[in-house]
């Protein structure tokens, strides 16, 4: 039993070990990060770009918690992620205010139509 658990825990093979393998969390956060970049580059809608940023922030949060959990259950990573969440909330509020302000002046939030700095 002990040896079995040890081997499932070690699980240096890809994807093995389920929730006990650090690699799975790193893979998830890598995927979320890449998808966030994808959304940021390919979306024209300002809100869509903001969604990409949120995805990236979530990916970094997962990384912080995963590394701190797999380095002996410290809480530092969780504190960092807490700050990331606070920053994401503040950023979302300001960004959406900006979106509304842009919409009031340009009647559109498609960013390729919003190309002058001053009306």
């Amino acid at each position: 039993m002990e040896a079995f658990l040890q081997t499932t825990f070690l699980a240096d093979s890809l994807l093995g070990g389920g929730p006990n393998n650090l690699f799975n969390y790193l893979l998830l956060s890598g995927i979320l990060f890449a998808l966030g970049i994808f959304a940021m580059i390919s979306r024209r809608n300002a809100v869509g770009i903001l969604m990409g940023v949120e995805l990236i922030l979530n990916a970094s949060g997962i990384n912080f918690v995963a590394f701190s959990r797999f380095n002996g259950h410290h809480l530092e990573g969780q504190v960092f992620t807490l700050f990331i969440i606070v920053l994401a909330a503040a950023e979302a509020a300001v960004a959406l205010a900006l979106v509304l302000a842009v919409f009031q002046t340009h009647r559109s939030i498609e960013l390729d139509q919003v190309d002058e700095m001053k009306l």
Partner: protein, 194 residues
């Protein structure tokens, strides 16, 4: 016997993969959805999944914060912004994205993802070590019962850190949130003379 309950059981493995697939699929939907409102709904599912991942990482307080702030707050803000700004239906809900933009986005995302994978591969040896270290940390928690956890929960340590070692960043964050609040009001407010 209680050992196998403490260490993740097969049911937990299945649940873990379910949450992983749900998170990745909804994140993909955020990117490819034609209508921005569908993307917002998919994003809320994705945040739910990330909260589940936090539970698997033994960060239960963080999972609750994720639910409250992201699903309860940011998603609602995003929905508000979409509904305030999308009565221009002639844009077709951003139906046609430029192929150039899609290609550039896909290429950049692929490059970023492979470089992340390569970095993880570089730390392959420490990866096994870290998994091992997590296993050793588990050894001490085998005897812990739910009652023990309720007596001294993890959020206690988190609170001590926020009020002790990380007090200055905490206060700076609170000032930042205040500034963001005022800034949002100032930005949206209509210009009124006098």
């Amino acid at each position: 016997m209680e050992y196998s309950v403490q260490i993740m059981s097969p049911a937990a493995h299945i649940l873990f993969w379910f949450v992983m697939v749900m998170t990745v699929a909804s994140a993909a939907l955020v990117v490819v959805a034609k209508k921005i409102l569908h993307a917002a709904f998919a994003l809320s599912i994705c945040f739910l999944g990330v909260s589940g991942i936090y539970v698997f990482l033994h960060a239960d307080f963080l999972a609750a914060v994720q639910l409250i702030v992201y699903v309860g707050g940011i998603i609602v803000l995003i929905m508000f912004a979409i509904m305030f700004s999308s009565h221009t239906q002639e844009a077709g809900g951003e139906g046609g994205r430029h192929y150039l933009a899609l290609g550039a986005g896909a290429a950049t995302a692929l490059i970023v993802f492979t470089s992340v994978l390569m970095m993880v591969g570089k730390l392959n040896q420490p990866l096994a070590e870290q998994n091992n270290r997590a296993y050793e940390a588990y050894q001490h928690t085998v005897g812990i019962t739910a009652a023990d956890l309720a007596a001294e929960p993890q959020r206690l340590g988190l609170g001590h850190m926020l009020m002790g070692e990380y007090l200055l960043p905490f206060e700076v964050a609170s000032i930042l949130v205040l500034a963001a609040l005022l800034g949002a009001v100032v930005i949206v407010r209509k210009e009124t003379k006098g």
